[in-house]
Symmetry: C2
C-alpha cells in the first residue's frame, strides 16, 4: 500500500485523442484495477457488470465512479443504508445522465456513509488502511487515490468532498452552489447539498469539470502577480495540527515564490457567525428531508442519524430562519472579503486522516464554504511525518470557479516544485 | 355543476376542536364527496383505499389531497406520466411526511399535468367542465373547488399554484422559496420549483400553512392604514382581458375603501428583464432534471415535453448563467420595490379559465414571482359575465408571508362585502 500509482485523467484523454488509447481499453484498465485493489480498499458499493462504453463524446472511455447517494437506473442505489438494500431507481440522477450524455462510463457506485452523514462505512484510506479515508464521499476519494479510476463524483453538505480528497491526497472540487445539478441525489440538507468532483490532480479535476459541464473550467495559465492570495485567519486555525500549520505556512511561502501577491486576511465576524449557524441549519433541513426515512425505516438507521433527524425536527422554524439570516449576512460579508482578495488559502482539514474508521474526521474548515456556496478546491502535495497527505484548500468568490481552478493548478505545480 | 359548496378548513378544525366533529367523520365526509363527485371532475389520480386517520395532531381529520408530483409510500406516484405507471416510492416526500406528522390524512393523489409541465390532463373546471381548471396543479385546485376536500398541496415552477387557484375560484398560496420542503418532489427546474397550498378561502389556506409548518401564518387582523398596497403596472396588464382589468380596478377601489393606502407602482426594468429570463432558466434546468427521463422513457413523453427538454439541453451554460444574473438583478430590484410598497396587487391570470382542455392557460402574471422567490396569494371573489372566477393576486417581499396572508384575508373580506 502507501504508494498507489494514480490514473491521470488528462493523460488518458490525451492518449485517447491521439489515437493511442481506445475507450474500451481505458475502461478495461479501470475494471482490472478495481478487481485487483478493491478487496483491500472497499471503495465500491457496486461495480457495473457490463458497463456501456461510448465510442464518442468528451468523456468517452472515462471510468467514472459515482457516489452511491446518486440514483442510477442500471445499478443498485443504497444511499449507504440497509434501508435501501436492493433499491433500483427508475432513472439516473441528473448528473449521472449528464455524464453518460458526455460519453462517460459509470464504472460503479462508490461507498457513501449512511445518507452522506457521519456514520462511517468500511472504506479504508489507500495511504494507510488503519486510517479513515474521510467522508461522506469515502469511496469516491479512495477509489481515485488507489489508482482504480481517474475520476469520481461526490457530494458535500459539510465537508464531504474537500475532506476525503485531503485525507486521500487527491484533488477535490466543490463547485459554486448549483453549478452541478443535484436532481436524483438523496438530499440531506437541500440548501447545502452540493455535487462535487474528484481526480488525481487539480489539472485533472478541472478538465473533468470542463468535459462534464461544457463550461470553460480546464486550468488555464494565470498571471500570478495579478492574483491576491490571502491566508484566511479564522479562529479554527489555532486548533489545527502543527504539521498542518506548517504545511499552510509553506504553501503561502511557495505561493509567494511562485509570484502570487500573498498576504493574510482576518475572518469577518459575520462569517464566523455563519459557520456556527451551519449545524442547526443542516439539522432542521435534515429533519424534513430525512423525516420520511425515520417514519418508515427507523430500525435500519444508525442511532447517530436518528438523533440528528430528531434534533432537526425539534428545531423551530423561527430558529431555522435565524440560521438562514446568519448565512445571508455571512454571504454579504464574503462578497466584501472577495473585494479585497481573490483567493483564500486555508487548511482542508485540521490535519491528516485520523487513525481508525470510527470517525470520518472534522469538517470545521469546510462547512462555512458549503454554506457560503463559494467554490473550493483541495490541492494535494503536502504530507505529514508518517507520509499521510495534508490538504491545502483554496476558496474563491461565488461563480469564480474558473479562476479558482486555474490558481489551484498553478499552486499545485508550485507545491510539487 | 357551477355551484359547489366548498369545505372550509377553518370550520372543520373549529368543529373538531369543539368536539363536534371526529377526525374519522371528517375524513368520511371527504371520501363520500370524492365518491359522488370525482367521476365528473377527474381531480384524483388515486384515492387512498384505507387511509390512516390520526386521532391527534393539528391536522387530525384533515383530508389532504397531494399533487401526484410528490412521492407517497402508500399510494402510486405517477408524476402525470405513463412512464411512471404503477411507480411506488419507498418513502414519502418531505412535505407529505410533515403533513402526516401533523396528523393529516393523505386522502389521495391529485392529478398533475405531465411532470408538472404544460401537457394537460383530464381534470375539468368545477365551475364549467368545458373549461380548463388550470395547471399544473389541476387536481389539487379542482378537488378543493368542487368541495371534495378542504385542503391540498401543489407546486409552482411558472404559475402552477396561483393560476389553477384563480381559474377554480379558490385560495392558492405560493410561499417564499423554500418555506415548504421539496424533497421527494419530482423536480422540473429546481431553482424555481416551489411547494404551495390550496384551500377554499385565504383564511383557510393561511390556517393550513400554520398548522402544517408550525409558523405563525394564520391570518391575523392588520391595520390597513399602515399597509401600502400598489397596483403593479407591468406591461402584461395591457394584454389582460377587459373583465380582468375591471376586476383589478374594482379590487384596488375596494382595498382603498377598506382603509388600505392604495396606489400604483411601475415595474422596474430589471424585473421585466427577469420575467423574460424565466423561460430559458427553466428550460436549461429541465434539460438537466428531466434528461434522465428523456434518456430512458422518451416514448412515454409528450412531444411538447420532449421539445422542452431538448431545447433546455441545447442552452449553453453561459446563456443559463446570464439568466441567473438577470434573475439576481430582478431580485435586487424587487427588494428596492418593497422598500416603497408592502403589497403588490396584480391579476393572477390574464382572465378567467379558457375554454377547452388543450391548454392550462397562461402564466405571464406568475412566473416573475416564482423566479423572485416572493410569496404570492390568489384571492378569489370576482367572476366574469359567464360566472367563471377571476383571481386577484397579491405579492409581498421575500419572507413576508405572514403579512401577505393577513392582508390577503382582509382583502378577501373586502371583496365579498
Amino acid at each position: 500500500m502507501g504508494h498507489n500509482r494514480m490514473m491521470s485523467l488528462e493523460a488518458l484523454i490525451s492518449a485517447r485523442d491521439a489515437g493511442k488509447a481506445d475507450p474500451d481499453v481505458m475502461i478495461t484498465l479501470s475494471r482490472d484495477a478495481i478487481a485487483r485493489k478493491d478487496a483491500a480498499i472497499k471503495a465500491f458499493a457496486h461495480v457495473a457488470e457490463n458497463p456501456v462504453v461510448a465510442a464518442t463524446g468528451p468523456l468517452a472511455g472515462v471510468a467514472l465512479g459515482v457516489k452511491d447517494i446518486f440514483d442510477t437506473f442500471d445499478q443498485p442505489t443504497g444511499y449507504g443504508s440497509a434501508a435501501y438494500d436492493g433499491h433500483q431507481p427508475k432513472v439516473d440522477a441528473a448528473i449521472v445522465d449528464l455524464a453518460r450524455r458526455r460519453g462517460a462510463t459509470i464504472i460503479g457506485k462508490t461507498v457513501t456513509t449512511e445518507f452522506a452523514y457521519l456514520h462511517p462505512a468500511a472504506t479504508v484510506n489507500p495511504h494507510n488502511p488503519a486510517h479513515t479515508p474521510g467522508g461522506s464521499s469515502s469511496g469516491s476519494a479512495a477509489a481515485v487515490a488507489a489508482g482504480m479510476i481517474p475520476a469520481a463524483i461526490g457530494t458535500q453538505t459539510g465537508g464531504s468532498v474537500i475532506r476525503p480528497a485531503a485525507f486521500c491526497g487527491i484533488a477535490g472540487y466543490k463547485p459554486s452552489y448549483r453549478l452541478l445539478p443535484t436532481g436524483g441525489l438523496k438530499h440531506f440538507a437541500p440548501s447545502l447539498d452540493t455535487a462535487g468532483l474528484f481526480a488525481a490532480s487539480v489539472v485533472d479535476v478541472a478538465l473533468l469539470a470542463q468535459l462534464l459541464t461544457g463550461r470553460t473550467l480546464a486550468a488555464a495559465p494565470v498571471d500570478p502577480a495579478s492574483i491576491r492570495v490571502a491566508v484566511y485567519r479564522c479562529a479554527q486555525l489555532e486548533g489545527a495540527d502543527p504539521a498542518m500549520q506548517e504545511a499552510l505556512s509553506k504553501a503561502a511561502d511557495m505561493a509567494a515564490d511562485a509570484g502570487f501577491d500573498v498576504g493574510d486576511i482576518a475572518e469577518p465576524e459575520a462569517m464566523a457567525a455563519a459557520r456556527d449557524a451551519h449545524a442547526a441549519l443542516q439539522e432542521h433541513e435534515a429533519g424534513l428531508a430525512c423525516g420520511p426515512d425515520l417514519a418508515r425505516h427507523r430500525e435500519f438507521l444508525s442511532q447517530r442519524l436518528v438523533d440528528a433527524i430528531e434534533r432537526g425536527q425539534a428545531i423551530e422554524p423561527a430558529a431555522y430562519d435565524a440560521t438562514r439570516k446568519l448565512a445571508k449576512r455571512g454571504r454579504t460579508a464574503a462578497r466584501g472579503l472577495f473585494g479585497e482578495v481573490d483567493i483564500l488559502l486555508t487548511p482542508s482539514a485540521p490535519g491528516a486522516a485520523p487513525e481508525g474508521l470510527g470517525s470520518t474526521g472534522d469538517a470545521r474548515f469546510n462547512k462555512l464554504w458549503t454554506l457560503m456556496g463559494t467554490p473550493a478546491v483541495n490541492i494535494p502535495g503536502f504530507f505529514d511525518a508518517s507520509g499521510l497527505p495534508l490538504g491545502i484548500q483554496v476558496v474563491a468568490r461565488f461563480g469564480q470557479d474558473q479562476v479558482l481552478l486555474a490558481v489551484a493548478a498553478a499552486l499545485e505545480r508550485a507545491f510539487r516544485a
